[in-house]
Symmetry: C2
Subunit: 386 residues, 2 copies
DNA sequence: CTTAGTTTGTCTATCCAATAAACAAAGTCG
DNA sequence: CGACTTTGTTTATTGGATAGACAAACTAAG
């Protein structure tokens, strides 16, 4: 009914989180440094650090430099006290990764999908997860969770409501996987996962507010506000690919007209390239690289429309950064200039001052790493409540 | 440097807030009921309630009904222990209100503005505030703060950076007013204030996530997420009036092209109505009321474009409600049907399920009441930190 | 080498908020 | 009237944070 009430256990959880976060950010660190940075009393820090050591989350790694007194005992987070699984479930591939608790990759596995029917795909998915689990070294917490990024709409029960390109409807993915593996499972949209991946491990490190624009066959977007994924009222949001940028433009399968993704996605590019005799992105990229004028113009068209939509996003969210990801980010050399100019011309000056226009650093790994991060974040969140 | 650390004072503040909020929501309430609803121990509640009584925030109002035992002592919030000032600074008017701590209006004052130069306007503004302050009854906390909604961009220091219709630039409004009155001052955009006003006192009561669309000469928007105003990375955001809905449409003074407000605002309406011999909204409303076909068509055009932009908003934020406010809400009878149809046709089905399309209930008072609410919220926030 | 001063991390006594349990006061109902 | 309920306070206890004392470990100046 009401908010969780405050008691001493809450204080301890909060302060433990502060100590752990200090170590995560600034390791190696001594107890004295943690005390100074956090404002917590030395005695408090000592006690909490001892708890963390007892829980196998932190260890002492020997003496550090002295500045004229007793040498400090340096502490570090034990990233290998647990492992996370991150999955990027694509339309024709499954990418999976096993990472430690700091997102360092331990094992990786990719497989192509021939069918898109749920049953064989789920079978392959489970095989992939099982193999990754088998590769995890022995450790205190084992596998702490499974995160999955999917190309579709997910509700807050982790059911995949609708995935147009897979032609799936109402697949209770979270329940299926947690029944199978008896582990915490987090499911989210591919763009949300990508946003988190880039925020944590890619181009958006240390940037608290960003928008990730996943430009593939369609356009998906993920919103990170204050380092947290933003979800709308009913748990799914950010369908900015279906913002109408041409009020009476091409009809979209979503029912709207003139959706952004009808003009700035890979699909839009391929459609306008068909008369020139191209039918995939790779050949277009090759043609652009060899300097074909008509193809370069096509990319500039995409760049402009991407810029139009991004200017809209900047005006609405005023983020610190916008990150272009997914397949179209490969076209960076041929779209970046037009894109940047368009955004500069169209976005409001006050918002432009601080916004950075970036391209994904993790490439095809954005969503997979973000999925792993969801699992890791879930583990830390559980630490706080138990 | 780091997060605020947890100590016992924090617990007490949190639990005091829980108790106070229970009383605010459910008054009249007994100590026993608060204990049961909040999960706090009876003794804890007793102690915290005593503190609140000592601070003149709560009072006992006598015995309540018994259900077979000792009669409970009922408690209520003392709304009149403090008063707030809310100001709506418009382009050609100043509206001011004095409310108690629950937003009940005690005094109200409107004045027309002839000039728009800063000096005379500020003078009139100060006179308005002073007169309202003079009307406040004696009470424990006096005037707890001044909130002001302004037609322009505000930074997080409360400076009015740019107000196109007033032709103001860089007016440090917050500093001026707090110097003058020695009171806490909150400045925000008119649309943000309106959003808060409708969320708290108007059509959006109890709706945690909503978007308020202020349709006047331009279009402004205010975003309430989880009952709090959302601000972007640099403190100002939500310029959805400048989302481009016609990628290569009419150039806007903001530098962008095809901005929503070029097609769906009062300005857009007046422009298309000029050939018919109209030059203000009032005469158009009158003509529509008398059934003039060509005018009705104009309103339908506005309704359609409003719907196009609102569908975009619904797709992006998936709010619980969208509230149309400001002057154009008077045109409700002639735009609502078209607007509703357009949104239904264009927004994504999953998002539509839960969204309500509402019109402002407070009319021209939205922003003013929201401004008062900003001052009240500031008072409660200070209670928690001191 | 000696000695003074510094830094680290632990220990001790104390404070304070929440809590359970006991309790007195004030009621209902048969 | 007596058994039972409900309310709100009192009392003793718990547990986490804290200040300050302290021992250990170190640097550097003389």
């Amino acid at each position: 009914m009401s908010a969780p009430t405050g008691d001493q256990a809450l204080i301890k959880r909060m302060n433990t989180a502060i100590v752990l976060e200090s170590i995560l950010r600034g390791a190696p660190l001594s107890r004295a440094q943690i005390s100074e940075r956090s404002g917590l009393n030395k005695a408090t820090v000592s006690s909490l650090v001892q708890d963390l050591i007892d829980s196998s989350l932190v260890r002492e790694i020997g003496r550090g430099q002295s500045s004229g007194g007793r040498k400090p005992v340096m502490l570090e987070f034990i990233a290998t006290s647990g492992y996370a699984i991150g999955i990027d479930l694509g339309v024709n591939y499954i990418r999976g990764v096993l990472t430690d608790l700091q997102g360092a990759i331990v094992a990786e596995r990719t497989s192509a999908l021939r069918h898109s029917k749920p049953e064989p795909v789920l079978e392959e998915l489970c095989r992939c997860i099982a193999e990754l689990i088998a590769e995890a070294p022995k450790c205190a917490y084992g596998i702490v969770g499974i995160g999955v990024g999917v190309p579709g709409l997910v509700d807050d029960n982790g059911s995949l409501l609708f995935a147009p390109n897979l032609k799936w409807r109402d697949v209770p993915l979270k329940r299926l996987l947690s029944d199978q593996f008896c582990l915490p499972v987090t499911i989210d949209n591919e763009a949300n996962a990508g946003a988190l991946g880039e925020q944590k491990y890619g181009a958006g490190r240390q940037i608290p507010n960003l928008v990730y624009v996943s430009v593939g066959m369609g356009i998906g977007t993920g919103l990170v506000l204050n380092k947290l994924l933003y979800k709308g009222a009913s748990g799914f949001s950010g369908e900015m690919g279906h913002i109408s940028v041409e009020a009476h433009g091409k009809p979209c399968s979503c029912g709207n007209q003139g959706c952004w993704e009808m003009y700035a996605s890979e699909l839009a590019l391929l459609e306008s390239a068909r008369p020139l005799g191209f039918d995939d992105l790779e050949s277009l990229l090759a043609a652009a690289a060899s300097g074909r004028e008509d193809v370069l113009e096509l990319f500039q068209g995409i760049g402009e429309y991407l810029g139009i939509g991004i200017a809209n996003i900047v005006n609405v969210f005023n983020p610190d950064a916008v990150i272009i990801g997914n397949r179209m980010s490969q076209a960076r050399p041929w779209i970046e200039e037009t894109l940047r100019q368009t955004v500069i011309r169209r976005a409001l000056g006050f918002h432009l001052r601080n916004v950075h226009l970036l391209f994904a650093e993790l490439g095809e790994r954005s969503a997979m790493m973000g999925a792993a991060e969801m699992a890791i974040a879930g583990f830390f969140a559980r630490l706080k409540t138990v």
